[in-house]
Amino acid sequence: MSRREQFWVITSNHLIEGDAIWLNNSGDWTRKLGEAKLFDDRDSAETALMTADKERHIHVGAYLAAARPGRDQKPEPQHVREQIRTTGPSNYFHGKQATASDVSV
């Protein structure tokens, strides 16, 4: 994949729950990667990250994660690490794969 085709999401961990969260289109956080805002250029993603990074009372350690548009243009993880954050561990059916992840942040 060439650099131009790179897509990004902004992700972090929730301060109290500790679980993975993503920035959505309205600038709030969501527990579902599928609802995250997909950035198609790095500069605007970086700018949004800087804004998001100020909300230290909500989350810990925001960063850009590579993603790709999947079904219905919803973001899907690029990296196996991000795949695991999105679903949960592979040894037990725990984490996001096991919970109704529409709990709002």
Binding site: N13, L15, I16, E17, G18, D19, A20, R56, H57, V60, G61, A66, Q78, H79, V80, R81, I84, R85, G88, P89, S90, N91, Y92, H94, G95, K96
Partner: protein, 555 residues
């Protein structure tokens, strides 16, 4: 067992209260995340991929039934019904909420437990031989030394913000079951020719990015000089250890860059300067601690049932031969309960399993339980006559896996399924290895072998000192596994060497199969272990099995 006195109890409670305040201050904004992070780490709290993770100390790997039951309760109430036992004799809970952690710490304090200094750049939970006071090859119980060090190092005002983490391990036996040469400080109890008790002190061991074995810095340290000498090492390290690069911040790098002789001189000078402050400690306090670790008076139990099962029940006798070690009392055995069932997660125990183990220890085993760095649970003192009952109850709890020291008794770190630092998964690799070789029915034929898996360069899975080490790395977003050969964690410690290019997740198990089939071909006789065979032949014939010409072309 060491019982908390009023001071211990008050101290641990005080720490919980302090941490409760720190959590509140983090939530209020008085503490930034940068400031909070080292504080939570000093209380064992990490932030991992899916949740916080709380690492609870099991000092020198020793606990009793009441404490084990409390771990089971915590797992049920605040976690997902299981705990993960680690290579540092800790137990980790993978799913706590930040706001619940102070309550968990209070629940631990109720049973004289804590999570203090299980992480962060400080002196970590001191580990010791898990067979302490039970093995017949022991010079002295290493736990008395470890407990003294626990007290000295806990909240030591100078050493809470070291250049990097600092790990100490103690063995009381010539047979090193505590991997002392892979620690920042390794302590080996010994007796000199006059019968005086003392220690051999090693420094600068460590695995991780730059694996090194510890070197002897003092060949005989009289017992009463332990604390000033260890304090001298730490002070020199805290003053001169590198802080410009976290990968060069461990004492092993200071040793490497300074040279043993010069560093030794600095430590000796500091030791002379601070020795007088410790002049009186090692009599009264030490006596108190020594008494606390006096072994129970062993009571023999009639063992007719045991004898019958040994001859008539092959599953029982196989389990006995594989999972027990010789106890210093002929009527007892040391039992290792394997936390490595085929296809399971190495080191995990459910709450109900923890309770079964607690019950067995209480009913049959003098109320003593140990955690080994190999991620198993030990009942150190079991009368032979009780073993049939113990076996049956373990079997009911699916804890009877007879594989200690064998291929599926794998050390594996949590890897990328949980750990924020990991670059690849470890647990599924361990699961697949145990399943594959179970299908092949090769485990017993292969015999004693240590497979150790780390999911990143930090080497929590000790891969450098496995007969076969597996290191999971990230290659452009894809997991890739390197194999090292010839490592050894014992008193003959040796760092394994990388065999060659890494394997994909799917190619790894077939490669290991070729490697172990080659060993079966190469060994002179069944008694020649994989380690012995590798020592005799070197890596070359094994590399040929790992990288046959046709496989390379296909890749």
């Amino acid at each position: 067992m060491y019982q908390y006195n009023d001071f211990d109890q008050a101290f641990v409670r005080g720490r919980v209260k302090e941490f409760r305040g720190q959590v509140e201050r983090r939530l209020s904004g008085a503490l930034t995340e940068e400031e909070f992070k080292p504080l939570r780490l000093k209380n064992g709290l990490y932030l991992q991929l899916h949740a916080y993770m709380l690492r609870v100390a099991i000092p020198y790997g020793t606990l009793d039934s009441r404490q084990m039951r409390r771990l089971a309760d915590i797992a049920e109430r605040w976690d997902k019904g299981y705990g993960h036992f680690t290579t540092r004799q800790n137990v980790q809970f993978n799913w706590p909420r930040l706001a619940d952690v102070p309550d968990i710490l209070d629940a631990l304090a109720d049973v004289s437990m804590h999570a203090i200094q299980t992480s962060g750049n400080c002196i970590r939970n001191v580990t010791a031989d898990h067979f302490a006071a039970a093995a017949d090859d022991e010079i002295e119980d290493p736990r008395q030394t470890a407990e003294l060090l626990r007290q000295w190092s806990t909240d030591h005002p100078e050493f809470q913000y070291l250049p990097r983490k600092f790990k100490i391990a103690v063995t009381g036996s010539q047979n090193d079951r505590a991997v002392t040469r892979a620690h920042d400080i390794g302590i080996r109890a010994l007796q000199d020719s006059d019968g005086r008790h003392g220690y051999e002190i090693l420094i600068g061991g460590g695995l991780g990015r730059t694996p090194m074995l510890g070197q002897v810095v003092r060949s005989f340290l009289p017992k009463e000089h332990l604390l000033p000498y260890i304090e001298a090492i730490l002070r020199v390290y805290n003053l001169y250890g590198r802080r410009d690069n976290k990968y060069k911040a461990r004492i092993k790098i200071l040793l490497h860059e300074t040279g043993l002789t010069l560093l030794q001189n600095q430590i000796e000078t500091e030791f002379q300067a601070c020795q007088s402050r410790f002049s009186g400690i090692d009599s009264e306090l030490r006596q108190h601690i020594e008494q606390a670790f006096a072994p129970p008076s062993f009571v023999a139990v009639p063992h007719d049932q045991f004898d019958i099962r040994m001859t008539g029940d092959s599953a029982f006798s196989e389990w006995f031969k594989t999972n027990t070690a010789k106890h210093r009392d002929n009527h007892h055995a040391i039992l290792t309960i394997s936390l490595k069932p085929v296809g399971g997660t190495p080191g995990d125990a459910t709450s109900s399993q923890m309770r079964v183990i607690a019950d067995l220890a209480e009913q049959f085993g003098y109320n003593e339980i140990r955690i080994s760095h190999e991620q198993n649970i030990i009942l150190p003192h079991l009368p032979l006559g009780h073993l049939p009952q113990v076996y049956d109850r373990l079997r009911d709890a699916q804890l009877e896996t007879a594989n200690v020291g064998l291929l599926s008794d794998i050390i594996a770190c949590p890897g990328m399924d949980y750990c924020a630092l990991a670059t690849a998964r470890s647990i599924p690799v361990a699961q697949e290895i145990s399943q594959r070789f179970d299908t092949l029915r090769l485990e017993r034929k292969i015999g004693p072998i240590k497979i150790k898996i780390s999911g990143c360069i930090n080497a929590c899975g000790h891969h450098h000192v496995g007969d076969i080490g597996i290191l999971g790395l990230d290659r452009a977003g894809v997991e890739n596994y390197q194999i090292t050969l010839g490592g050894d964690a014992s008193e003959k410690a040796r760092i394994g060497k990388r065999a060659g290019p890494g394997f994909s997740f799917d190619d790894l198990i077939p490669a290991l199969e070729r490697l172990l089939e080659a060993y079966l071909e190469l060994r002179l006789m069944p008694e020649e272990t994989f380690g012995d065979c590798h020592r005799r032949l070197g890596s070359e014939p094994f590399q040929r099995a790992l990288y046959p010409a046709d496989v390379q072309q296909a890749a």
